[in-house]
């Protein structure tokens, strides 16, 4: 929950006297001071819900120091200067301003002030298993000309999501921006290479082309040839770029090697130029000349591509015109195997295209219905995805496409762990109830994604511990007739808490039934007990008003009145566990039920007695009549006997 005293992430105060840096992607950044160490220069970047913060940012603060890079420090809720709540990623403040492309830089300056510090930073990050994925001239900062630059912030958005396509290798640029995945350090080397080229040229290469055309151009002639396009380059830079812009990430020099430019330029990797066909293949109106272009076109036009794969047209072109019979055979085999596996038409077509693309271009991303993603980028892509993209992403999980993609020969070792994750993803997506489905998938795959529930009234909630205080604060302006839980909240809880609590929320089928309402109350009680022991009077009152803390089912009005009093008392104290405990008392409930049964029996007996009195009225009148006569007769008899006795005694 946002601190009321204007602090961001508990310790940081926005400093209005210092301006924050201008960042890419329209992110707002504020200069902040750490109240524990006011001399430290820091910034707080206000994150966007549709751009989940990178979950591994905390790793950047551990281990060996990373020089020449702006590192994250902390994250948490806060308020901007206008008082609006937000979720902030706090990090070191970059020195000076962004490098930009105002004028071409000289070779020596590029090497000394950009390449060397960036290579050192990347080498340290590689050692920690981190990537930057946001290297471009607008995200390189330096305090003054001819000073060493530093890599800008990289943690406030999914990896590569803010990068213009030109700075990304084709297999990354082709993906949805948020679905580019963590990538590897070689992808940062590629981005650094394009950045060096842009700084030397003083302009963005191929700026006149749109992103799709840039990707095609890179695939057609290779990245180095496409980007340099015979531009006059200093020899050292040209030699370095040849390696840094290699198509295969394994062929690019490591950051450690780049720290020694003379050695790096000497490293030559014999990469064959892409094989070009004698006759082009027409896929969706695009002329294809090479295998990687074919993979791109099949991914872009999957329906047409599937028909061509099925008819053998692609295989024949590969054999006959591209002169690669082995690749043709592999495509034919993949097509045949996928078809014999049997499936519905849509899934079959998708899997066939996916596997063939992976076979044709081992570097190609996972393609599905025209969409391209890296498997580890599916999670961020789910955040704020369009309906169409959301459907395709769900299909990717449901069809087990990642497993097929990895099995089809994708060589990325860092993605092997995703095979196991796939099982979890499918289970989350298939889970019934409000805590399952695509929302559960999105929160599960994005540990730093804020809860999107409208019940929170715009308050950012990323950690489980912040959920209850946020709901408590939102209670004042909430519609209290509705319960303080919806599918977003349920899925968020299921994703963020573990153990029995996650099981409890997963078992919820709705929030309407009596048992379900009790389960929700118990869930909130347990959440408060575990995550927020402090009082939550707003949320407790909301639970009471919305009927979740309902006395329905209790038969005794006296018990109800007593419980109502105690519930109100517990709600005013903000102790939800006490409320749950009051209502979830099996012994008291059994006694109440037993009392109700006894009372019902008593009522039935009384009603029968009352009916008997009414029904007996005629018989009673008759009996009273007879009794009256009998009394008089008895009196007469006594009188007669008395007379006899008197006469006898004379």
């Amino acid at each position: 929950m946002a601190d009321e005293d204007g602090l961001v992430a508990t310790y940081y105060r926005i400093d209005p006297s210092r301006a924050g840096p201008v960042l890419q992607g329209g992110f707002c950044a504020y200069a902040v001071t750490d109240r524990r160490d006011p001399h430290q220069k820091l910034i707080a970047i206000e994150t966007k819900p549709e751009f989940p913060v990178r979950p591994r940012i905390t790793l950047a603060r551990s281990g060996v120091p990373v020089p020449h890079a702006v590192l994250p420090v902390d994250y948490g809720p806060g308020r901007d200067p206008s008082g609006q709540p937000g979720w902030y990623a706090v990090g070191e403040a970059p020195s000076g301003t962004a490098l930009g492309l105002a004028k071409p830089l000289r070779e020596a300056e590029v090497i000394a002030c950009v390449l060397m510090p960036a290579a050192a930073a990347l080498a340290a990050m590689a050692e920690r298993g981190l990537t930057h994925r946001a290297i471009n001239p607008d995200n390189l900062f330096r305090a003054a000309p001819r000073e060493m630059s530093m890599l800008g912030p990289f943690w406030a958005a999914p990896p590569g999501s803010l990068q213009p396509a030109i700075y990304e290798p084709p297999y990354m640029a082709r993906c949805l921006p948020k679905a580019r995945g963590e990538g590897c350090i070689a992808d940062d080397v590629y981005a650094l290479g394009v950045t060096l080229l842009a700084l030397v040229l003083g302009r963005v290469p191929l700026a006149e082309l749109d992103e799709a055309a840039v990707i095609r151009r890179k695939l057609e002639v290779g990245s180095f040839a496409a980007l340099t396009a015979d531009a006059p380059l200093p020899p050292l830079i040209a030699d370095l770029l040849r390696g840094m812009l290699a198509e295969d990430p394994d062929h690019r020099p490591s950051p450690a090697l780049l720290s020694r430019p003379e050695q790096a330029r000497a490293r030559r990797v014999a990469a064959r130029p892409p094989r070009r066909a004698q006759v082009p293949l027409d896929v969706g109106g695009t002329k294809i000349w090479s295998a990687r272009e074919l993979a791109l076109a099949l991914g872009l036009y999957p329906e047409r591509g599937y028909l061509m794969l099925k008819s053998g047209e692609v295989e024949r072109w590969l054999r006959r015109f591209l002169g690669d019979p082995q690749l043709g055979m592999r495509v034919e085999e993949v097509t045949r195997k996928t078809e014999t596996a049997g499936s519905d038409d849509g899934r079959l077509a998708g899997l066939t295209v996916l596997r063939c693309v992976a076979a044709i271009d081992p570097l190609a991303p996972l393609v599905w219905r025209g969409l391209a993603v890296q498997p580890d980028g599916i999670g961020p892509a789910l955040a704020g995805a369009s309906t169409e993209a959301m459907i395709a992403l769900q299909e990717i999980i449901g069809a087990d496409a990642v497993t097929h993609f990895l099995a089809a020969g994708h060589g990325r070792r860092d993605m092997a762990g995703l095979r196991d994750d796939q099982r979890d993803w499918r289970a989350w997506l298939a889970a019934k109830g409000p805590a399952g489905g695509v929302k559960r998938l999105a929160y599960g795959m994005n540990p730093m994604m804020a809860c999107g529930s409208p019940l929170l009234g715009g308050r950012p909630v990323v950690r489980a511990a912040d959920l209850l205080p946020a709901l408590d604060a939102a209670a004042a302006e909430a519609d209290r007739a509705r319960p303080p839980i919806d599918a977003h909240v349920a899925a968020f809880i299921a994703a963020r808490v573990d153990g029995a609590l996650a099981g409890d929320v997963t078992q919820l089928t709705s929030f309407a039934g009596s048992d379900e309402r009790m389960s929700v109350l118990q869930l909130f009680g347990r959440l408060q007990a575990r995550l927020h022991p402090g009082p939550l009077p707003g949320l407790a009152g909301w639970l009471l008003s919305s009927g979740l803390a309902s006395l329905e089912g209790w038969k005794s009005h006296k018990t109800r009145a007593m419980l109502q009093d105690r519930l109100l008392q517990a709600a005013s104290l903000g102790t939800i566990p006490a409320m749950a405990e009051l209502l979830d008392n099996e012994e008291a409930r059994a006694a109440d039920q037993k009392g109700a049964e006894a009372a019902a029996a008593r009522v039935r007996a009384l009603e029968q007695a009352l009916q008997g009195i009414t029904d007996d009225a005629p018989r009673r009148a008759e009996a009273a009549h007879l009794l009256g006569y009998e009394l008089i007769t008895a009196a007469g008899l006594v009188g007669s006997l008395g007379a006899i006795v008197t006469l006898a005694m004379r």
């Binding site: 009522v603 008759e622 009273a624 007879l626 009256g628 006569y629 007469g636 009188g639 007379a643």
Partner: protein, 153 residues
């Protein structure tokens, strides 16, 4: 079987031999003890009149009037037999207004009591039952106020 049905069954039963026995006794009494029969007949005139008027099998009023009248008739009848049971003695006794007033007064009281007492008994009984019903209703209201029987069978 309800009370009304039993009553109808009794009504439907024809008068049998007792009627002729009673007739024979009365005939014998008139023939062999005329003064006694005259005295008893006059003193029990209210009972005879009631018997003639009253309908129904139980003849409760007749029985009550007859028994009360009999209590006031026994003494004059005893005196008649002590004086020899002659017609003159019977007429002397009948000429005493106190004797007639006592016998007929007893019968009249019995008849009046038959008209009033059953109603009084019924009234007392009904008051008692109404009080019981009120207590039951109070308990019912209390039960319904204390418990929620929605969903109970």
């Amino acid at each position: 079987m309800s009370v009304t049905a039993a009553k109808k069954a009794v009504e439907a039963r024809p008068r049998q031999s007792t009627f002729w026995v009673q007739g024979a006794i009365c005939g014998a009494l008139l023939a062999f003890a005329t003064p006694t029969a005259l005295l008893i007949g006059i003193l029990l005139a209210p009972a005879l009149a009631t018997a003639a008027v009253e309908q129904g099998p139980s003849r409760g009023t007749t029985r009550a009037v007859a028994l009360c009248g009999a209590a006031a008739t026994l003494s004059p009848a005893w005196r008649l037999w002590m004086q020899g049971g002659q017609m003159g003695a019977a007429l002397d006794l009948l000429s005493d207004p106190l004797t007639i007033v006592l016998a007929w007064g007893a019968g009249a009281c019995a008849w009046a009591a038959c008209q009033v007492l059953p109603a009084i008994v019924a009234g007392v009984w009904n008051v008692r039952e109404a009080s019981r019903a009120k207590a039951i209703e109070t308990e019912l209201i209390r039960c319904r106020e204390d418990w929620d029987f929605v969903g109970e069978g």
